[in-house]
């Protein structure tokens, strides 16, 4: 671990960090939990000149930040608009808030907190389950939602859950904020729609509606590894048939994918028809790499989708029973 020394700068707010990014450009990297950045730094894959620490953003506001408006449901502001005060942004980035059928999670919320928060478990259990599957306990202690989303690893759990849920991310450049749909945010391998000077503030997901069931499934070589294939499914059954379904897969392409063709094929299916209607998965052409061939991945995805649909249908029927 002989890393090239770099400078360290602690940002008091997200807006400060955006300003520093504009000043320093490519030479700067942002750190929150550090669970994606520091492995790359330790391996010499990234050699920043300065690391900007946002993990303390808004923390020194003596509690004022926490009162500033953390429970804004948000996410539904078309076209963004002014971001409000630094304080409100900072508060939003640290809080889990909800209301009006939405759940908003701050970018600085750790995976452990997301996995263990009772409000998340009741409002959107799929998200809590996805967070609980990330890495190992040490990654979950430090790793943050914003870090995982911005890193945009195609096999990561949270981007997949967000795409399945139809989440929207609030991002800021410190001067104004905009909202980006998860599906339009994750562009390709480790590539997001964030501009050089933008940071994720929060993510907003709809709460699990009445009668919906969910499931999150993944296969990895070793427990805690990135998934070879992962699947997030939501189903609403009505009158014994599938009324609505959302199916997304991760680890199979350069970004998490919603499978619209599969969703459409499932509408109206009875439980006995689901497996036949779902597979082989249309709209999916997995990647081959050192971990698995495309064929193996396609097989894993099909199996996981079937398992996830089973579980989600059962949960939906229990919810309506």
């Amino acid at each position: 671990m002989f890393i090239r020394p770099f400078g360290y700068e602690r940002a008091g707010s997200l807006a400060d960090a955006c300003e520093m990014l504009r000043e320093r450009g490519e030479a700067a990297k942002v750190i929150a939990g550090g669970q994606s950045l520091l492995p790359m730094v330790n391996l010499g894959l990234v050699q920043p000149e300065v690391i900007i620490d946002i993990s303390h953003a808004g923390r020194d506001d003596d509690g004022a930040a926490a009162r500033g408006g953390g429970a804004v449901p948000g996410g539904a502001v078309p076209g963004g608009g002014r971001s409000g005060s630094d304080r409100a942004v900072a508060a939003r980035s640290r809080e889990i808030g909800g209301g009006d059928g939405y759940l908003t999670i701050g970018a600085l919320v750790s995976h452990a907190r997301l996995a263990g928060d009772p409000a998340v478990a009741s409002a959107q259990p799929l998200l809590a389950a996805a967070a609980a599957r990330i890495g190992n306990p040490r990654v979950r202690s430090r790793g943050t939602l914003g870090g995982s989303l911005a890193h945009s690893d195609p096999a990561a759990e949270l981007p997949l859950a967000m795409v399945a849920l139809g989440a929207s991310y609030r991002v800021t450049d410190g001067r104004s904020a905009r909202d980006v749909r998860a599906e339009e945010f994750h562009l390709s391998f480790l590539t997001s729609a964030l501009a050089e000077d933008e940071l994720v503030v929060s993510a907003t997901v709809p709460a699990l509606g009445p009668g919906w069931g969910w499931s999150f499934q993944e296969v990895a070589r070793r427990e805690g590894d990135f998934a070879l294939a992962a699947v997030a499914v939501l189903v609403r059954m009505a009158g014994g048939i599938v009324a609505e379904a959302r199916v997304a897969v991760g680890g199979a392409a350069d970004r998490p994918l919603r499978l619209a063709d599969v969703e459409a094929a499932l509408a109206g299916a009875s439980p006995g028809e689901i497996a036949g209607r779902a597979g082989p998965l249309r709209g999916l052409s997995p990647v081959s790499d050192i971990s698995a061939s495309a064929g193996h991945r396609a097989h894993l995805c099909a199996v996981l989708v079937r398992r996830a649909l089973d579980e989600a249908c059962r949960r939906s029927q229990e919810a309506t029973a």
Partner: protein, 189 residues
């Protein structure tokens, strides 16, 4: 921007202040500057768990935290799990009794991870213990004795509720001698 940082951490109850490059990880800060060598450097990528420490009570990879990020924090290493005067704490005793260390390289990280796992006092199944330790690699034991030890530690605590918390700290005024925990499963010699 700063290239050097003066950091104060409370390590196993002791306040330590050191000045060094702002790029140092918590692991290098502990080992190279503070002489706290029980956390080990295995992979530097967060996957092996040899460097695990508790940071304000939460398990972290010390190789994936910048010391400058956590100025003022409280760090507990495996050595901090011992009782007053350095006598082994309950987890350490169970590891000893179950022969859960061979070369010992993974042991400090295993102890810290186990301490975090058992912190809430809930009794876990063997499968849950295995799942809880999956982020810590051991090249020697085959994991069996380590799982035995964690199981023995939680059973010992349940059988005779121990006034010490999972860090081995006795409540104030309590320093009665402790009975040794039940020995681990017998192994052939």
């Amino acid at each position: 921007m700063t290239h050097t940082a003066t950091i104060t951490l409370t390590v196993n109850g002791q306040r330590l202040t050191r000045t060094a490059g702002a790029h140092l990880t918590l692991l290098r800060w502990l080992r190279d500057l503070a002489g706290v060598t029980d956390p080990k450097y295995g992979c530097g990528e967060g996957v092996c768990g040899a460097c695990a420490v508790l940071l304000d009570g939460e398990p972290v990879s010390a190789c994936l935290v910048l010391a400058a990020q956590v100025d003022g924090a409280e760090v507990t290493t495996a050595a901090g799990l011992s009782g007053p005067g350095g006598i082994p704490g309950p987890l350490q005793e169970a590891f000893h009794a179950c022969h859960a260390a061979q070369c010992g390289f993974c042991t400090p990280g295993m102890l810290v991870t186990a301490a975090a796992l058992l912190a809430d006092g809930r009794i876990r199944s063997r499968a849950e213990i295995r799942a809880g330790l999956h982020g810590n690699l051991c090249r020697c034991t085959g994991y069996g004795p380590i799982v035995d030890a964690v199981e023995a530690a939680q059973e010992a605590r349940q059988a005779r509720p121990d006034p010490r918390d999972h860090l081995g700290r006795a409540p104030a005024g309590h320093d009665a001698p402790r009975p040794r925990p039940a020995a681990g499963p017998e192994r052939g010699r």
